[in-house]
């Protein structure tokens, strides 16, 4: 079923937290080198989609193919070893580890990850504060660290949840550049983002979610034309 170059293919994905049914049959796919966003209002189920891919929800059904491998029955650490890096919404910096330990924590899932030097040169702040406790970092620095640690692991499929939240504009700009560069390297990115301005210029496609369904798919070149639709789903 999988066409060549398709890194993520999801069909009829349902997900639950305990009794509550959150995702109601999601279908989506992401090709290699593509950057795709999930849009939608709060609680639409975008974070849940990423978590479901990582098998971090209560229960899930349907099919999720990563690199052509069905992963619905896989434990989450095995999924990571298919080359996925997940950057959660809540950042999840570990307070009992220092910055460097946080950075070194995820084991390499592929061999061609960024070296520590590369990472420090990209985020000099982290280098300066490498021995301080993880959660003593400013919010922005924590966000950088959360992203940096999955880049180091060599993951080539990135699931990023609201990575610009709480960041100063200059860092946001820089993150945009980083993502652009990663894309050029051939990495595949699934991005959950509230900051539409950030996402629009770098994304190839957008999925719009509502109430646990995917309600629209918009290519980058259709954005202007379908502005009204976006307004209905995302605007107030």
């Amino acid at each position: 079923m999988t066409t060549y170059g398709e890194k993520i293919r999801i069909s009829d994905l349902h997900a639950f937290y305990g009794e509550s049914h959150i995702l109601h049959g999601i279908d989506l796919n992401v090709k290699q080198g593509e950057l795709v966003t999930l849009l939608g209002r709060n609680g639409a189920g975008r974070s849940t989609t990423l978590r479901a891919i990582m098998n971090m929800v209560g229960k899930r059904s349907g099919t999720i193919n990563i690199n052509g491998r069905q992963t619905i029955g896989m434990a989450s650490h095995r999924i990571a070893h298919l080359g996925i890096g997940y950057c959660p919404e809540e950042r999840a910096i570990f307070s009992s580890l220092n910055v460097e330990e946080n950075l070194m924590l995820p084991p390499a899932v592929r061999s061609d990850g960024m070296s520590v030097e590369e990472i420090y040169s990209m985020f000099p702040n982290l280098y300066e504060r490498r021995y301080s406790q993880g959660t003593r970092l400013s919010g922005g620095e924590q966000q950088m660290l959360a992203l940096a640690r999955i880049l180091r692991s060599g993951a080539n499929i990135l699931l990023l949840d609201e990575i610009t939240e709480g960041l100063a504009p200059v860092i946001v700009k820089k993150l945009g550049e980083v993502l652009q560069k990663l894309k050029e390297r051939g990495l595949t990115i699934l991005l959950v983002e509230q900051n539409f301005r950030f996402a629009a210029p770098i994304a190839d496609r957008h999925y719009v979610m509502e109430h646990g369904h995917i309600v629209e798919e918009v290519r980058a070149d259709e954005l202007e034309a379908r502005a009204d639709m976006l307004h209905t789903y995302l605007g107030v």
Partner: protein, 295 residues
Amino acid sequence: MATFLGINLFGLFGQLLVGLINGSFYALLSLGLAIIFGLLKIINFAQGAMYMLGAFAAWMALNYFGINYWAALIVVPLVVGFAGVVIERFLLRPIAGEDHLYSLLLTFGIALVLQGLFTQIYGASGQPYSIPDELKGGTKLPFMYLPDYRAWIIVASVLVCGLTWFMIEKTRLGAYLRAGTENPAILQAFGINVPLIVTLTFGFGVGLAGFAGVMAAPVYSVSPDMGSNMLIVVFAIVVIGGMGSIGGAILTGLGMGIIEGLTKYFYPEASTTVIFAVMVIVLLMKPAGLFGKEA
């Protein structure tokens, strides 16, 4: 007799030393509990039974297989640890998502079964296990006669506690442990086999109790209820130290042993209650324990 301000120094130092020895066992056991609690949020009620199991395993190893004390010191913790692995894998994992009270009750059940089993087989009165030849005899200190084996207990357990602390606080594996304590789900999403770590951690924590059991066999008689008597005190120590704090468990364990020793000297009637009294005071002043983080 050396006295100072009416205090019989021989008696005092002697009791302090015995306190330190008891403290060594407290430290080993509460360290195991703290590790398990930290990562799994399980109050392991079977920790005392595992300690008992360690002592019996050493006894059985000697009497059935001719394995001597020194070999038992290595083999038994592994065996007990393996028992822990089995327990975690087949009994605790199925209830991992439930209220933590259930794991407490489950391990309580395990403790009852083990204790009953050994009472049934070996009787309640205990089996003798002699001090290894190398450590028979003692050293004449100015204030008391210190049996070599008791000295060895202090050295060995401080060493093991120290190594464990180092491993958890300073190594990569320890980093996984600490991270797993905070957020196991994310750690697993990074590709780390958290269930395996959890199992091994439980095995390790329990193995520490097994180690303490082997250490205890020659000085306390090997009996089925040796663990349950110890366990409640160790619980109080963990509460005093602050649940889940590794360093806290070690320091509080040793410290409480010493306080108990002091009480035995100055007011022996209170020696069995002093730890609980300290616990009450600590709870009133610092509800999260001496080294615990405020909830």
